[in-house]
Point group: C2
Chain length 390, copies 2
C-alpha cells in the first residue's frame, strides 16, 4: 500500500481551488460509460472544473443520458458505447461490477491505440485480471475505485463535489503503463481526490473489512430484527437512532451488492471467519458473565473507533461546535446565521438536533477554529440566544 499524499486526510489548503482554471483542459476528449452517481459526478467535476473539453457519455438508459446532458455532466451524448469511446484519450467505465467485463469487451475494438482506460468498480482483484486481459496491450488499463458513495444512486444524485477529499484508490499491477497511471493520478488529484495506489488483492481485503463486511452485518441485523418483529410487531417501531445508523447501508441497491459480494467472495469469506471469532469471544464473555474481559473488549473497540477518521471527505476535519436552543419559527436560523455572517464567522457545519413545532429546538453549529466558535458564542449570547460549547 503506497500513499501518494498525506497519510491522514486533511483539508486542502485554504484558498486552493479544485478544477483547472487558468490552464487549458487536461484532456481533450473523455468518455464515460455508465452515467449513475459516480459517472455523473466525475463528468460534472471534469466539465465544470474545466478539466476536459469534451465529455462523451453513454448509458443503457436513454433517460440517464438526457439527464447527464441537462445537468452538464457530459456534453456529447453517444448512442452506443463504441461511439462514446471513439477518439477519446481517457475512458472511464462507471458501470456496475457485474457488467464491467461485458462492456469492456464491447468497447475494446473501438479504442484508439494507447487510450487510457479505468473503471470505478468497488472490487479490484478479479476485475483487474479480467480487464487487463481484455484491454492490454492495445489500450492502457488501470483499475480504480473512488471511495465515495451514497445510498442515493443514479444521475440525479450526481454531485460535482462527490470526490472532494475522497480517497481514490488506483490499483496498478506489473502490467500497468507508468504514464497512464501518472496521468490518471493527476486527473483525480486535480479533481480534489486523495489518490492512493494499492495492490488489487490488498484493496479487496481492505474494502471487504471496512465496506463489504459492514454491509453484510447490516443486512443480517435487519433480517434478525425482521424475525423479531414477526412476534413482536412494534420492534421495528421502537428501533431508535443507533439502529438506524447501524443498518443504514442495508438500504443499498440489492443488485449492486449481490455483484460486489460475489466478485469479492474470497476476501469476504476470509474476513467473515475473523469476525465470527470476535463475535464468539464476546458471546462467551456474556454467557460466562466475564466482567473484566467484556469491559476490556468494549474499551478496545471504543479506542479503535476513535482512530477512524471523522469527516473522511468534504468537511474540514477539526470542528469546534456550539449547541444553541432556539424558538421554532420561520427565520430563526436565518437571523442567527446572518448575525454570525455579518461578523465574518463562517458556519462550516449545521445540524438540527431536535425541534418541536411551536416550541423550539436545539441546533448544532460547527466552526473551523476555536476562536470562531468562541466569538460565535459571544455574539449569540449577546443576542439573548441560549448557546453553549459542545
Amino acid at each position: 500500500m503506497q500513499l501518494d499524499r498525506d497519510p491522514v486526510p486533511v483539508a486542502p489548503p485554504a484558498g486552493k481551488i479544485s478544477g483547472n482554471k487558468g490552464a487549458g483542459p487536461l484532456v481533450e476528449r473523455m468518455a464515460i460509460i455508465g452515467l449513475g452517481l459516480i459517472g455523473g459526478s466525475l463528468g460534472l467535476a471534469l466539465l465544470q472544473g474545466g478539466l476536459a473539453r469534451e465529455v462523451a457519455g453513454y448509458d443503457r438508459e436513454e433517460k440517464a443520458i438526457q439527464a447527464a446532458m441537462q445537468i452538464g455532466a457530459i456534453n456529447s451524448p453517444a448512442s452506443c458505447p463504441e461511439e462514446a469511446v471513439a477518439g477519446a484519450e481517457v475512458v472511464i467505465l462507471a458501470v456496475p461490477v457485474g457488467t464491467l467485463s461485458q462492456v469492456a469487451g464491447a468497447i475494446a475494438p473501438a479504442l484508439a491505440p494507447g487510450t487510457i482506460v479505468t473503471d470505478t468498480g468497488s472490487v479490484k482483484g478479479a476485475v483487474v485480471r479480467e480487464l487487463e486481459g481484455i484491454f492490454q496491450p492495445r489500450a492502457n488499463y488501470v483499475g480504480g475505485h473512488p471511495m465515495a458513495g451514497s445510498e442515493r444512486a443514479g444521475i440525479k444524485a450526481a454531485d460535482r463535489y462527490l470526490l472532494e477529499n475522497a480517497v481514490y484508490v488506483l490499483t496498478p499491477t506489473p502490467a500497468t503503463d507508468a504514464g497512464a497511471l501518472q496521468r490518471l493520478e493527476e486527473l483525480f488529484r486535480v479533481m480534489g481526490a486523495r489518490v492512493i495506489t494499492m495492490d488489487p488483492e490488498e484493496h479487496d481485503l481492505v474494502v471487504a473489512g471496512i465496506s463489504h463486511l459492514p454491509h453484510l452485518l447490516a443486512v443480517s441485523l435487519m433480517q434478525t430484527a425482521g424475525e423479531l418483529a414477526r412476534e413482536h410487531p412494534l420492534a421495528l417501531m421502537l428501533a431508535a437512532g443507533g439502529f438506524r445508523d447501524t443498518t443504514r447501508i442495508a438500504a443499498g441497491d440489492p443488485v449492486m451488492w449481490r455483484d460486489i459480494f460475489l466478485h469479492n467472495r474470497t476476501a469476504i469469506l476470509t474476513l467473515l471467519k475473523c469476525w465470527r471469532g470476535q463475535v464468539e469471544a464476546l458471546e462467551g464473555m456474556i454467557a460466562r458473565g466475564d466482567v473484566e474481559d467484556l469491559q476490556a473488549a468494549l474499551q478496545q473497540a471504543r479506542s479503535l473507533r476513535a482512530q477512524v477518521p471523522a469527516r473522511q471527505k468534504g468537511l474540514l476535519p477539526a470542528l469546534h461546535e456550539l449547541v444553541v436552543t432556539v424558538p421554532d419559527r420561520p427565520g430563526v436560523i436565518g437571523a442567527m446565521a446572518t448575525a454570525l455572517g455579518n461578523a465574518g464567522i463562517n458556519i462550516i457545519d449545521i445540524e438540527i438536533l431536535r425541534v418541536r413545532e411551536g416550541e423550539g429546538g436545539s441546533i448544532r453549529l460547527g466552526f473551523t477554529t476555536a476562536a470562531a466558535a468562541s466569538k460565535a458564542l459571544e455574539i449569540l449570547q449577546s443576542k439573548g440566544i441560549n448557546a453553549r460549547v459542545l
Copy 2:
C-alpha cells in the same frame, strides 16, 4: 405490548406546547438520583416545563450536582440519596443498570409510604424483579425505559427536548399499582414522550434485537477492522461514511454496555443465535455463488429497512427536501435562510452535505410540506441560487 397512543410516531399537533403552562405543577417534590444525560434531561423538562415545583437531585459526583443546579435541571441539591428522596412524591432512579439495586436498597427505608418510584435502566426483566422485591409494598415501583440516548453522556449533554417524541416504555407487572402507573404515564406524556406499556421480558427481547445486538455487532466489527489494520495499516483510514455509521455505537461507554450485556444476557444470547443463522445463510449463498437467493435476501433486508421509522423523535416525519449548491463564504447560510424566513417558510432540517473552503458546497434543506419546499425552490432560484428538489 400495548400502545397507549398512536402506533406510528407522528408529530404532535402544531401549536401543542409541551410542559404544563397555565395549570399548576403535576408534582410538588420530585427526586432524581443520578444526574447524567437522562437524569439531567428529565430534570430540565420537569422544572422548565413547570411540571414539578421542586426537583431534588443527587449524584455520586459532586460536580454533576453543581452542573445540574447551574443549568436548572434540579433546584434542590442533596448531599446523599436518602436526603434527596425524603418527602418526594415521585423518585426517578437514573443511575447505571449495574448500580440500580444498590441505590434502591439505600433509599428504600427513607421513602414515605406510597412514594412512586421508577428507574430508567435499559434492561427490565431482572431489574424489575429485583426492585419490586426491594420497594413493594411500601413504595409503588414501576419499571421504565426512556428510549432516547446519545453517545454523548453526562449532565453536559442534558437537553430539555431529549424526550420529545421519544418512546418511553413502562413495564408494569401484576404487582404494579394502577394509580402509580397512570401518574407516571401522565407525567412522561406531558413531557412530550410517547408512552408505551410492555411486559418486562418482552421489552428485554425487543431491545436486545434493536439495541444490544447492534451494539455487540458494531463492537465485533470494530475489532475485526482492528485486526485487519495490523497488517494493512491504512485500513482504518480508508473506512468511509458507511463504516462510521455502522460502528458509531461502538463508541459508547464500556462500563454501561458491559452492565447492559450482563443484565440482559438471556435475551441477547437468544438473539445472537437467530442472528448467526442469518449470517450463515448469507455466507453460504456467497460461498456457493447463489445469485438469486443472495439478491432476494438483500432485497428483503432493504424492504425491512424501509419499515424502520425515520426521525423516530424530534423532527417532523414527512420531509420535503431541496439541495442547494452555494459559494462557501461567511453569511451565505444566513442570507439563504433569511430569504426563506422573510417569506414565512420554516426550515425544519438543514445539513451541510459537503463543502470545500474557497469554493462552495452542497446543503440539504428540509421543509414540512411540499408547498413550502416548492416555494423555497422558487425563492432560491429567483435569487440565482442553484437549488433542486432531492
